[in-house]
């Protein structure tokens, strides 16, 4: 199968990790996968192509309107790839009526001018099939396709047993890593959850270790957000200082697994909207590749249905500090959950599996 992915590829945001994996693993599986566009020096290993007619399908991976190519390239795509061979993967649930959760929303009209009807009619014009990375799409005309996946070949340390993992994790003096907690992700509709998380860590902070927050706009609130009263990029620098959280700018997608491995714990958060819609992201899976104990700050139904039953141990529950203290006391118990979850993800959510699912959808 020859797949032409259409999206905006940047090194630190959106689906870049997944798209690069699709390109590499697709080739291994005998498919031809490329990104639509001219070759990019910053993505030397990712094939790019403008030869639309050489591909069987165009797969639009869409987070926001800018993920569609600009004119005239959009026109070329629509002219040269028939609609029945164009599909959209709607990563943020925009192909729904407007849904607001707290101040998160699937249509930020004040930012992009597009109301729900325009998203819906736009997607319907572009594609014959619309997929969403959730097990529970709301609309009948949407098919579930998780898109993001787990790649065991990128596990930083593929331990053979919980004992081995726990020993490495604890280190000779019980402090093998420079950080207690690292969260890598951008400041976009996550602040409220992070603030609650940091507050909850407070009783055990001295024993957990340094806390590092890495991504866009954790060190300032952008002017445009202030101007528009946009709460999705809220941050409280005084609070972060009081909580002992050091911040850093965004990192490239291929540095995330290693950086997360510098911490004993890495929380996984989804935006409130994503929690409500059951949408998964790259980080839903990728954090399990890092040499760290993932903390699944996700709804129980999402964890159980995606990560498997054993992963429930990695949900800290209401008393986060107490759970982390317990993890430090008996790391083997929790590393057993991590290794079982890794195995579950490898069996059920590998990129190979995703290719099979995608082929079924495309050929149906």
């Amino acid at each position: 199968m020859k797949l032409l992915f259409v999206s905006r590829l940047e090194r630190g945001v959106r689906a870049v990790r997944a798209l690069t994996r699709y390109a590499e693993i697709g080739k291994r599986l005998g498919h031809e996968v490329a990104m639509f566009g001219e070759p990019r020096a910053d993505f030397p290993s990712v094939p790019h192509s403008m030869d639309i007619e050489a591909f069987d399908f165009a797969v639009f991976v869409i987070y926001e309107a800018h993920d569609f190519p600009d004119l005239p390239h959009l026109a070329y795509l629509l002219d040269r790839m028939p609609k029945e061979r164009r599909i959209v993967i709607d990563c943020t649930g925009t192909y729904n009526e407007t849904i607001t959760v707290e101040h998160d929303c699937n249509h930020f009209v004040q930012l992009n001018g597009h109301e729900s009807w325009e998203w819906i009619e736009g997607f319907e014009a572009v594609a014959s099939k619309i997929l969403q990375p959730t097990l529970t799409p709301l609309r009948e005309d949407v098919r579930s396709f998780l898109f993001f996946a787990y790649d065991p070949s990128t596990e930083a340390r593929p331990y053979r047993s919980p004992q081995e993992a726990a020993a490495a994790w604890s280190g000779p003096n019980g402090a093998s890593k420079p950080y207690g907690v690292i969260y890598v992700g951008h400041n976009w509709e996550r602040w409220d959850q992070l603030r609650r998380f940091f507050e909850a860590l407070e009783p055990a902070r001295s024993r957990i270790g340094a806390i590092h927050l890495r991504g866009w706009a954790w060190d300032h609130r952008p002017d445009w957000a202030v101007e528009h009263g946009f709460q999705g990029v809220d941050v409280d620098l005084d609070f972060l200082k009081r909580a002992g959280v050091e911040t850093g700018g965004p990192i490239a997608f291929d540095e995330v697994v290693a950086l997360q491995g510098q911490a004993r714990f890495c929380p996984i958060f989804h935006r409130p909207l994503f929690n409500q819609l059951g949408l998964v992201t790259n980080r839903t899976f990728e954090t399990f590749c890092s040499d760290t104990l993932p903390l699944l700050m996700l709804p129980e139904r999402v964890v159980e249905s995606i990560h498997g039953h054993d992963a429930l141990r990695l949900r800290p529950g209401d008393d986060v500090a107490r759970r982390l203290e317990d993890m430090m006391r008996r790391p083997e118990f929790y590393w057993e959950a991590v290794l079982k979850t890794r195995a579950h993800l490898a069996a059920h959510h590998s990129y190979e599996r995703r290719f099979e699912e995608l082929m079924t959808i495309l050929e149906n």
């Binding site: 309107a65 800018h66 569609f68 959009l74 026109a75 109301e115 325009e118 736009g122 002017d223």
Partner: protein, 350 residues
């Protein structure tokens, strides 16, 4: 003919007043004119539609920015409206070579930007119109587009006069002319004038993002100078209140950005100002003013000694009202929206 306009939705800028007049003229002449989108109470008099099937042609009204022509929006049009039914009105003269006037106003920052803009329009349509009678680019079709709508006219005495002079328009590449010609003229006669008011955006602030786009020069202003001259600044008004706001001034000055003057681009303001209960003075070359407004228009061209002209108008309103009336008669004859709509229909059919 049924015509759907697509445009950046802005109630206080651009071509929205003109489009409202097209809707009215269409209703009177048996054409259906609408704007793409869903109904919005802020836009009185506008008909909205998202049903491409109901229209014979789609006309994109493009100004400086084309961000509103997002791919999401365009994908639907590109797949549902055949190319031969689409046309672009290039209101700001962007579909041209890079034109820079006096190292100041320009249509594009550079060749890359120009190529991107032109490629965008070429992808949309074959027909590119510009509101000028003398396009630079042979591929562009001249179409005056903007016209005079007497239904907007405010009669004499309809509004009390709060100012001797009003300037209504946004501070977008206007500062050089305003600071070098208009303000010195006002300064010379300021003691003889009652209030002076500038209405519009960016006379007292630079918008967010101007620096990042290297557009700070387009928004230059000097509030201290305005204060010293006793000039009031009022915020922009929606298109439905433009004529009323102009009518607060005994005299209205129309300036035009240098690029538009160089390209001889018409704007809605050329005609809107004659709907107001005021005496319009237009900063145009007399010959150009005459070509639009008829022979009487020469008298309203503001050039040469601006101070003396302003005083003359304020001291002799009766004489100038007669001149303005003569221009209005010419505008009804030559530049009505009935005529404009017929020109648009013909251009789309051709």
């Amino acid at each position: 003919m049924n015509i759907l306009f697509m445009m950046d939705r802005r109630a206080n800028a651009g071509s929205i007043q003109a489009v409202a007049s097209y809707v009215r003229a269409g209703d009177e002449l048996g054409h259906t004119i609408a704007v793409y989108g869903q109904p919005d109470p802020k836009y009185l008099g506008i008909r909205w539609s998202t049903e491409f099937d109901s229209f014979d042609h789609v006309v994109f009204v493009c100004e400086f920015g084309i961000g509103w022509m997002s791919a999401l929006r365009m994908s639907r049009i590109l797949t549902q409206v055949p190319r031969k039914k689409r046309a672009v009105l290039d209101a700001d003269g962007m579909y041209n070579p890079v034109v820079c006037v006096d190292m100041y106003d320009r249509n594009h920052a550079d060749e890359h930007n120009r190529a991107r803009w032109v490629a965008h329009c070429d992808a949309v349509a074959d027909k590119i119109f510009q509101p000028t009678l003398e396009p630079l680019n042979a591929a562009v079709l001249p179409l005056p587009f903007y016209g005079y709508d007497p239904t907007l006219r405010l009669e004499l005495g309809a509004r009390p006069k709060s100012f001797d002079i009003v300037h209504l328009g946004h501070n977008w590449w206007r500062w050089r002319e305003v600071s070098s010609r208009v303000l010195p003229a006002i300064e010379r006669i300021r003691p003889k004038l009652d209030g002076v008011c500038f209405v519009g955006l960016w006379w007292d602030m630079v918008p967010a993002g101007a620096r990042e786009q290297n557009l700070e020069m387009a928004f230059e202003f000097d509030m201290d100078r305005f204060r010293r001259l006793g000039i009031d600044v009022k915020p922009a008004v929606p298109f439905t209140e433009v004529v009323s706001a102009m009518s607060e001034g005994r005299v209205n000055i129309m300036t035009q950005r240098p690029l538009f003057r160089r390209l001889k681009l018409l704007t809605a303001k050329y005609f809107e100002i004659f709907c107001a209960d005021t005496i319009p003075l237009v900063m145009l070359e007399p010959a150009h003013a005459e070509s639009i407004y008829g022979p009487a228009g020469r008298e309203l061209a503001l050039h040469g000694n601006i101070s003396d002209k302003l005083l003359d108008v304020i001291q002799n309103p009766l004489r100038y009202r007669q001149i303005v009336e003569a221009v209005r008669i010419h505008l009804v004859d030559c530049h009505s929206y009935h005529r404009r709509l017929q020109q648009l229909v013909d251009a789309l059919r051709s």
